[in-house]
């Protein structure tokens, strides 16, 4: 049957199981939008292309499915860039479809022309420019396969307007044939045996879990292994949720704003089992002194991660869905009671660290402490919500104080650190998981970077709860200015006349405000009771630091503690 190129895209999206696309129309994608209209494909109109791409990202992270977004050529496509880079850094499966000018206009500096393939090359897993309709079905098939398989990532398909309007006898390919791409699943079984041997000998072992566990949905397996072995666990920002925050063995987040116990355990451990982590500089602190006494085992699907930042003594390259079941099986062959005796003194030590120096802050009757906001929401949602954040102090407090129970329950821009990610990502997550409570923690800085998406939430009745941690400053930057720049607060003061409640209401979102600690609980509870999207403007003191903190280029045990 003859299909228009635009219709080929919609049909192919259906075949790939896409349920919804996020986008913004424009000249070059007019035929595609016409197909969306004619074929009644679910589409969420963002208010900015950046909103569309972050929403697709949030949808993908929350559901594990491939997120899809659409933008027009030129500025539409360039507005996606931050979102594509965000997804790339955090390995999020995404397909971004951009319109391109007509084939004869490419390269002529035509109206709304940008070299999207060139611009997106360093921030995509792969990208395409489609100039012939014959290539279109294959390219879409490949794009989805590449985005979701192996280490996931964003794929851009830039499609010339002519291709949308051209016709083809449409048949969607069954298979993908890519000579240069065959993601590893199973690795070398012998390495797992070696790891088990190291685990048996270890006196101070430590699991370090990261985003890879969330992405591969292997948190249950990991819990089985930690229960079997009794080894304590630390987590990167991206690994939060894999192991319940309340587990006794869970020492919490490691790194720049990690817990005392997690950071000390990293310094003291003799075996560090990194699972789906990439040893980011925010984790390692001074990289040469990271885990100085440990043999490092690195489990990862991407061979290029091995030895990139930290030299691994043993590498286990393969999908965690292959390596973790095997690790469990082989470990279960041994008498774990026996090894537990080996590590008993170590468990006492880490428990002492955890007990002696827990996360803490000074309570106040006068002002609302930011940590209390997170704790209150944690209680109100029983740790069962999908938590989304923007970037800054509120992000770190959320990571520290929210009691996560489940994998894929914490969506945050970890790698790129994108302010403005939160609101659209929360909308995408809520649309992907309509039954879930979705809470966005944002700041008075971050929310302004994509506040237009409140209109998207209101118009589509997406019931996200937006908590604005309003301290009237760019908190994280001002914290650094306080600590390292002798309190020269260069352009970090946001004190002004912005009224977030009015802003919310102007766009059709219910706005609430809370300024006193005594009213915090009730106001937040009300926000959860109200149907539809709600913004709560929470007034906080302006000079609260995120602690503990490991200053840049310091060892993880050189923390500034608080509480």
């Amino acid at each position: 049957m003859e299909f228009l190129g635009a219709d080929v895209i919609i049909e192919s999206l259906k075949k790939e199981g896409a349920e919804v696309v996020f986008g913004y129309p424009g000249g070059a994608v007019l035929p595609l939008y016409d197909a969306l209209y004619r074929m009644k494909f679910p589409h969420v109109l963002a208010r900015h292309e950046q909103g569309a791409v972050h929403a697709a990202d949030g949808y993908a992270r929350a559901t594990g499915k491939v997120g899809v977004c659409i933008a027009t050529s030129g500025p539409g496509a360039t507005n996606l860039i931050t979102g594509i880079a965000t997804a790339y850094m955090d390995s999020v499966p995404l397909v971004a479809i951009t319109g391109q000018v007509g084939v004869s206009l490419i390269g002529k500096d035509s109206f709304q022309e940008a070299d999207v393939r060139g611009i997106t090359t360093p921030i995509t897993k792969h990208n395409y420019l489609v100039k012939k309709i014959q290539d279109l079905p294959r390219v879409i098939k490949e794009a989805f396969y590449i985005a979701r398989s192996g280490r996931p990532g964003p794929v851009v398909i830039d499609i010339s307007k002519d291709v949308f309007n051209d016709k083809i006898d449409y048949k969607y390919p069954e298979d993908v044939k890519l000579r240069g791409y065959s993601p590893v699943f199973a690795g070398d079984e012998a390495t797992i045996e070696l790891v088990v041997e190291k685990m048996r000998q270890a006196k101070k072992p430590l699991f370090f879990v990261g985003g890879g566990v969330n992405i591969s949905d292997t948190s249950d397996l990991l819990r089985k292994i930690t229960e079997l072995t009794g080894f304590p666990v630390i987590s990167s920002l991206m690994g939060l949720g894999c192991i319940s925050s309340s587990d006794a063995d869970n020492l919490g987040m490691v790194g720049m704003h990690g817990t005392y116990a997690a950071n000390m355990a990293t310094i003291e451990c003799d075996l560090l089992l990194g699972v789906g982590v990439r040893f980011d500089d925010r984790v390692t602190g001074l990289v040469k002194d990271f885990a100085p006494r440990a043999q490092v085992v690195h489990f990862d699907i991407d061979p290029a991660e091995i030895n990139k930042n930290i030299i691994a003594d043993i590498r286990v390259v393969g999908d965690l869905r292959w390596s973790l079941p095997l690790l469990y099986e082989k470990a279960a062959d041994y008498d774990c009671q026996e090894w537990r005796k080996n590590i008993d003194p170590w468990l006492v030590t880490v428990c002492d660290w955890k007990r002696q120096k827990p996360l803490g802050y000074k309570c106040s009757d006068e002002v609302i402490m930011p940590q209390l906001v997170i704790e209150t929401v944690s209680q109100l949602t029983n740790g069962d919500a999908v938590i989304v954040t923007d970037v800054g102090q509120h992000q770190m407090w959320t990571a520290q104080y929210y009691q996560f129970l489940n994998q894929r329950s914490f969506l945050t821009s970890g790698g790129l650190g994108t302010m403005g990610y939160g609101l659209p990502a929360a909308i995408g997550a809520q649309l992907g998981l309509p039954e879930k409570t979705v809470v966005l923690f944002t700041g008075d800085g971050s929310i302004m970077m994509n506040c237009q998406e409140m209109a998207t939430a209101a118009n589509n009745n997406v019931a996200v709860k937006i908590i604005v941690m309003n301290n009237q400053v760019l908190g994280m930057v001002s914290q650094w200015q306080r600590m390292f720049y002798e309190e020269r607060y260069s352009h970090t003061c946001l004190k002004g006349r912005t009224d977030f409640v009015k802003l919310a209401e102007a766009m059709g979102v219910t706005g609430l405000r809370v300024t006193k600690p005594s009213e915090l609980q009730a106001t937040l509870a009300e926000a959860f009771r109200i149907e539809g999207p709600v913004l709560v403007d929470v007034w906080l003191p302006d000079a609260e630091d995120v602690l503990p903190m490991v200053p840049a280029n310091c060892r993880l045990d050189q923390m500034v503690l608080g509480g």
Partner: protein
């Protein structure tokens, strides 16, 4: 240390950009790069000379390049017995009184004269980098007008093709 890699890639537009972009983004040091078609119409072969600190960094270069979807295979030819060649075209001043001297030099280097006119000659030489450097140095005395050199290409000796290694 310098390594020579043979990189087999899909013969598609933009592949060389992908590779050179990755190399510059990851801050690897490329000494030379040469790309062309192969015996298979859909495959391009790129020879890369890369300067790295140690084996670990080389592993990173190979692993990162391997992640590119269009990269089919990478073979490290550094320690495989192989032939390494560059091509140079050198335009040199050649008046009647110096012409025969230059012809002698060309013969010694087993180079070829591919163009002669009243004032200049163009000399073509293939060989390893050091040989080309040596010829250029000798010809400097006569006055080199311009030089163009290709990147290095390399091929293993023996019957096995890189794609089967």
């Amino acid at each position: 240390m310098k390594y020579t890699l043979a990189v087999l890639v899909e013969n598609k537009p933009g592949v060389l950009t992908h590779i050179s972009g990755l190399i510059s983004r990851r801050a690897y040091n490329i000494e030379s790069i040469a790309a062309s078609y192969t015996e298979e119409a859909d495959t391009t072969r790129i020879t890369i000379d890369v300067e790295v600190d140690d084996k670990l960094q080389l592993e990173q270069v190979v692993n990162q390049l391997s992640k590119l979807i269009d990269v089919i295979k990478i073979i490290n030819l550094t320690h495989i017995d192989s032939i390494h060649r560059e091509l140079a075209l050198i335009k040199v001043k050649a008046r009647p009184e110096t012409r025969s001297d230059i012809v002698d030099i060309v013969e010694i280097f087993r180079a070829k004269i591919v163009d002669v006119n009243r004032e200049t000659m163009v000399i073509e030489l293939t060989g390893e980098e050091s040989k080309i450097n040596a010829l250029c140095e000798v010809l400097m005395d006569y006055g080199i007008i311009e030089i163009v050199r290709t990147g290095k290409i390399a091929l293993s000796r023996g019957p096995i093709a890189a794609k089967n290694m």
